[in-house]
């Protein structure tokens, strides 16, 4: 039963144009699809191809291409195989349609991606603050967010200069490169 | 006739038998009365009426004053100051009762006598009737005071008639004085019916759920009265007279079967009023739904009239020793054990029903039924300490229940609800009411410093020395159930989280506070020095022919285990002193914090979240005994009511449908049977 369904899926996807399919193994399939066709494909996978479980939605920030890549990992219990559907959306408006009506767990994944990347999912039930309840800075997982600069601005550091180091230096020894110079990007944020 | 007015005043003071230590007080009264007696009106009318009043038979004076109270309440009930008048009148009744002096002196027969068809109704007061009359008038006095001030104002604003309330209370008090003083079966039955109707009136005042409960009570009361009537008919058919003396002789001459039927008839009638087990379903709703002050009076004394009946007939006339001879065939139980077991079950079942109530009034009403079981159990044990414990518990529990119900209704007066799940944290807003409830629950649970402990201790001690293990365990399980449910009562109302809407609640009004604080002081005093109360009980035992309890100022002196409350309470207070010394002396300074500054696993508590644990308070226990509550008695009552409906439907069918022929035939057959 399992490979029959798999072959049926492969032949079907092969017929569709505009999507790029790559089967990495008997139980792994990677599909690239245009962003507006993704909900239809998900309905097909869920409705006909027994992929009833949406394991996760992950997001990749291609800052140079100015795009976000959304990956929908769908799992089928019947044929024990995983389909990951990849799509690209432009980074700037960062808005996409929600698939909550197809897979209900999508609500939480979309809420998480909204908090971490700032992608707005139209129709998602609740996009309020999720894990970072105290966070009022920019979405932290974006590549243009400089975590260390933010840390330097909001947190203080221990000026770690213990007594044993002082008398060592008194005798001419000490550390070759002092700690605060060792870090490569100890830059403070430019006061814009 | 120109006796100088002061002599009349002297007679009045002599009548009050103030002990010699009180002559200073007598002096003050003499001067204050002196300037009254100089006025003109006094010389013509006042003086003769005063002389007539003093010369009267004391019991007649008591009845007259009680009837006067009733009359005045009927006439002046609507007045603003009717409450104050009622308080004064009940005070006068109490003074009249004291002047009868039948507790330590000889029984006094009232001269008023009604003869109907050569059967005469007459009344006489002895130690037992004095004891119950004292509790009744005391309860009425305290209730009237509680209802005198702002409680009555709120009651009037709610559209209820104050006059009806005062009349009902006065009628109740008068009825009970008549019942308690009855000297023959007819006056007993008359008093019994009057008390039943009066308490129905007091319950049905407010209408609504109270009226339903009152109607249910009425059904029980009428069936009880019919049982009583059956018993009286049985005695009359054997003894030929209604006088108590003849009744005692008749009962002594009865065979066992006759005594069994008498026991079932009279015992059943009185058990309905006392709320013993099979007949207890009416009492909780009836007493809880009565108007505030009314519930206080009913809870304190009304159910004990059944106990009075049982004492007079079953304990007094039939006698516990006679009960022990009445064996129940095929079981090794005698009728005494049967009644004792009914009393023990009456302790347990209502107390564990009270545990589940989430309305404070119902919880206390269910306890009213439970504590009645203790009194009967003490009497059924029959030895000196046991019966004294039962009688003393009647007094101790009356003041405890009155104080508790007053505190609960003070909370209802301020917060508007008695639902335990809607209250909480009121100790900071109503500290005096908390104190009263605390004294009350310590006494209800029977813990040392308070009065309840003394009488419960006596019942336990007699159960041990008389060798009744299972009854002893049943009584203790009842007490533990009481401790659990009273803690739930005080925790859900006064402790825990204060709700936002109760922040502005004020202390109970003054007119309600004074009787409450007076009663709680009495509870502590009756526990600290049980001597006086024990002396009354000893007199009653002597008059009933029971072995008299060896009492002393502090408690009981007995080689097999005595009790000296003065030492116990003294050492307890000393212990609290040491505890305070250790706590405040050695401990450093502490700072009072707000209730939201609490450990909740790192969670920030906010005022709008209601985190008080009050619903399903003993969840663990209820997992085990929850399924045991199957409402067996409610099922029994419903099935009884259903069979009654069936029978009445059949009978109605017989009359309503015109079947002349059938009726004629039946009449003919009856005629023939009667002729031959």
């Amino acid at each position: 039963m399992t490979n029959e369904l798999t072959t049926w899926l492969d032949t079907l996807l092969a017929e569709l144009d505009g999507i790029e399919v790559r089967r990495t193994s008997r139980r792994r399939l990677r599909v690239e699809v245009a962003s507006d066709a993704l909900p239809a494909l998900l309905e097909l996978l869920r409705g006909r191809a027994s992929f009833v479980h949406l394991s996760a939605i992950s997001c990749v920030d291609w800052i140079d291409a100015g795009q976000f890549e959304l990956v929908y990992h769908c799992w089928s219990y019947e044929i024990q195989s995983l389909v990951s559907v990849h799509t690209r959306i432009p980074r700037e408006p960062g808005v996409y349609i929600s698939v909550y009506d197809i897979y209900t767990p999508a609500a939480f994944f979309e809420r998480d991606i909204h908090e971490m990347f700032g992608v707005w999912f139209e129709g998602s039930p609740d996009l309020s603050r999720f894990i970072l309840t105290e966070w009022d800075g920019p979405p932290p997982m974006r590549k243009d967010f400089d975590s260390e600069a933010w840390v330097n601005q909001h947190f203080g550091w221990q000026d770690y200069h213990p007594d044993w180091l002082k008398d060592l230096e008194a005798r001419g020894g000490g550390i070759a490169v002092p700690p605060n110079e060792q870090r490569f990007s100890r830059r403070t944020v430019d006061e814009t | 006739m120109a006796t100088s007015p002061t002599t009349v005043v002297d007679q009045l003071l002599a009548g009050l038998h103030l002990p010699d230590g009180f002559d200073a007080v007598a002096g003050v009264i003499r001067e204050s009365l002196a300037h009254v007696t100089n006025s003109a009106i006094w010389t013509r009318y006042g003086q003769q009426s005063l002389e007539w009043l003093i010369g009267m038979n004391p019991v007649d004076r008591l009845f007259m004053l009680s009837a006067l109270t009733l009359l005045l309440m009927l006439l002046l009930g609507r007045l603003r100051s009717a409450g104050v008048l009622a308080v004064l009148l009940y005070g006068a009744q109490f003074a009249a009762l004291l002047s009868t002096d039948t507790l330590f002196g000889a029984p006094v027969a009232a001269e008023v006598r009604i003869t109907v068809a050569d059967q005469s109704l007459h009344w006489s007061y002895d130690a037992l009737s004095w004891f119950f009359a004292m509790i009744t008038i005391g309860a009425a006095f305290v209730t009237a005071w509680y209802a005198a001030g702002s409680w009555m104002r709120r009651y009037r604003e709610a559209g209820q008639s104050a006059r009806a309330f005062h009349v009902a209370l006065a009628l109740n008090c008068f009825g009970m004085l008549l019942l308690v003083g009855s000297a023959d079966l007819l006056s007993l039955f008359l008093g019994w019916e009057l008390v039943s109707w009066a308490s129905f009136l007091l319950m049905a005042l407010v209408g609504g759920p109270g009226a339903q409960a009152a109607l249910k009570y009425l059904a029980y009361a009428i069936s009880g009265a019919m049982l009583l009537l059956g018993g009286i008919a049985l005695i009359y058919s054997i003894g030929g007279s209604f006088e108590y003396g003849a009744v005692v002789a008749a009962i002594r001459g009865m065979t066992d079967v006759q005594v069994w039927t008498l026991l079932l008839l009279l015992g059943g009638g009185f058990a309905v009023k006392l709320g013993l087990l099979p007949f207890h379903l009416w009492q909780a709703a009836a007493y809880a739904e009565a108007p505030g002050a009314g519930s206080v009076f009913l809870g304190a004394i009304s159910a004990r009239m059944g106990l009075f009946g049982i004492i007079v007939f079953i304990v007094g006339m039939i006698g516990v020793s006679r009960l022990m001879t009445l064996e129940i065939p095929y079981t090794f139980m005698s009728s005494r054990e049967l009644i004792a077991w009914i009393a023990a079950l009456t302790i347990i079942v209502p107390t564990y029903t009270a545990l589940q109530q989430h309305d404070a009034r119902y919880l206390l009403a269910w306890h009213g039924i439970g504590q009645g079981g203790y009194m009967l159990l003490g009497l059924m044990v029959g030895d000196a300490v046991g019966s004294a414990g039962g009688l003393l518990h009647c007094f101790n529990y009356a003041i405890t229940q009155a104080a508790l119900l007053m505190a609960v209704f003070a909370v209802v007066h301020r917060t508007g609800t008695a639902d335990l799940n809607q209250l909480g944290g009121l100790v900071t807003r109503m500290p005096l009411t908390f104190l009263v409830l605390l004294f009350g629950i310590i006494s209800l649970a029977g813990l040392p410093p308070m009065a309840g402990f003394v009488s419960k201790w006596m019942v336990y001690r007699s159960l041990i020395t008389e060798g009744m293990p299972l009854l002893f365990v049943a009584a203790v399980v009842g007490t533990l159930g009481t401790i659990l449910s009273v803690y739930k009562l005080i925790h859900n109302i006064f402790l825990g989280q204060l709700r936002v809407e109760h922040q502005g609640v004020a202390e109970a009004p003054l007119s309600m506070l004074i009787p409450m604080l007076g009663l709680s002081a009495l509870i502590f005093l009756a526990g600290f020095i049980p001597g006086p109360a024990l002396s009354w009980v000893a007199q009653v035992q002597g008059q009933l022919g029971l072995p008299v309890v060896p009492w002393v100022l502090g408690g009981i002196v007995d080689p097999r285990g005595g009790l000296d409350m003065i030492w116990l309470v003294g050492i307890l207070m000393a212990g609290f002193g040491v505890g305070a010394l250790v706590f405040y002396g050695f401990g450093g300074r502490s700072r009072r914090v707000h209730q939201l500054d609490n450990y909740a696993g790192g969670h920030f508590l906010t005022a709008d979240v209601h985190y008080q644990y009050s619903d399903n308070f003993y969840a663990g226990l209820m997992h085990l005994i929850g399924p045991w509550y199957r409402g067996a008695f409610r099922w029994l009552e419903r099935s009884l009511a259903a069979t009654l409906d069936l029978v009445s439907f059949g009978a109605e069918g017989l009359y309503r449908v015109a079947q002349p022929t059938l009726l004629m035939l039946a009449a003919a057959v009856a005629m023939l049977a009667w002729v031959f």
Binding site: W135, V151, G156, D159 | V427, P431, P509, V593, H594, N598
Partner: protein
């Protein structure tokens, strides 16, 4: 309302006197002997509340059980902050958890001691770059002992505890007073992280005044910010207020004034 940024951030190093020198010994000998006994008792009996914020907590059960047995030193685990003396912060302190840690610290009864276990509490540890974790624990509450190590072994934990016991016995472990004496500095750091409307249900300023631990630096700009929007929670004092009595007395006052 001043925004968080206008408030001067305490960039400058801490003022010199970080903690008042060991409690000035009292003059008469009996008091000194009594203080000595109390300090000895305090050092021999410590109730430990380990708030397992991060990975370091897994080192504490072995320190308590049969191999290392902390009870030899008189240290018992306790559950509620009211009962505890030591607050063990084990592992990285995320910003969300720091709120609860501060609340727990303020709910503890003094003299209380904080031990930061694991390098994450010392200087950020391996999460030094993360936006979500607090780097220096003693910015937010006075810390008595730091035990470095990316999960120090039980021996190191017990060594740290013995150091604390030594400090208590000699009277040098009174960093907890610093929280009251320089509450403004700590509150400033907390507000810097949690925003201006940060507050806990404990009223530290009233507590400082009650136990006369009021230092010069207790009040400052940050506490002024706090006062703007937090009405401190007063304890619900028990009051006997009978309106009927009040009304009668007020009526009698009016009569009094009317004449």
């Amino acid at each position: 309302m001043t925004h968080i940024d206008q408030v001067p951030t305490p960039g400058a190093p801490l003022p010199v006197e970080i903690g008042v020198k060991a409690g000035a010994a009292r003059t008469n000998p009996f008091a000194r002997v009594f203080d000595e006994l109390v300090r000895f008792a305090q050092s021999r009996s410590l109730f430990m509340l380990h708030y397992c914020t991060g990975c370091g907590a897994v080192e504490l059960p072995p320190a308590m059980t049969s191999r290392f047995d902390m009870e030899r030193l008189g240290i018992q685990p306790m559950v509620s902050p009211r009962q505890a003396d030591i607050l063990l912060i084990t592992g990285y302190v995320s910003v969300k958890t720091l709120k609860r840690v501060i609340l727990t610290y303020e709910q503890m009864n003094s003299p209380k001691y904080v031990i930061g276990i694991c390098s994450c509490t010392v200087n950020g540890g391996m999460y030094w770059q993360s936006y979500a974790t607090a780097k220096k624990l003693n910015d937010y509450m006075p810390v008595d002992i730091y035990i470095a190590g990316c999960m120090p072994r039980p021996e190191a934990v017990i060594e740290g505890l013995r150091g604390l016991i030594e400090n208590i016995r000699t009277g040098r472990a009174d960093a907890w007073k610093d929280y009251y004496r320089r509450y403004d500095y700590y509150l400033g750091n907390q507000q810097r992280l949690f925003g201006a409307d940060w507050q806990t249900s404990t009223d530290v300023i009233a507590e400082a005044r009650h136990y006369d631990l009021f230092g010069p630096a207790t009040l400052g700009a940050h506490t002024a910010l706090l006062e703007q929007h937090q009405r401190p929670l007063e304890a619900l004092e028990m009051r006997i207020e009978i309106p009927e009595l009040m009304r009668r007395r007020s009526r009698s006052d009016q009569d009094g004034t009317a004449q």
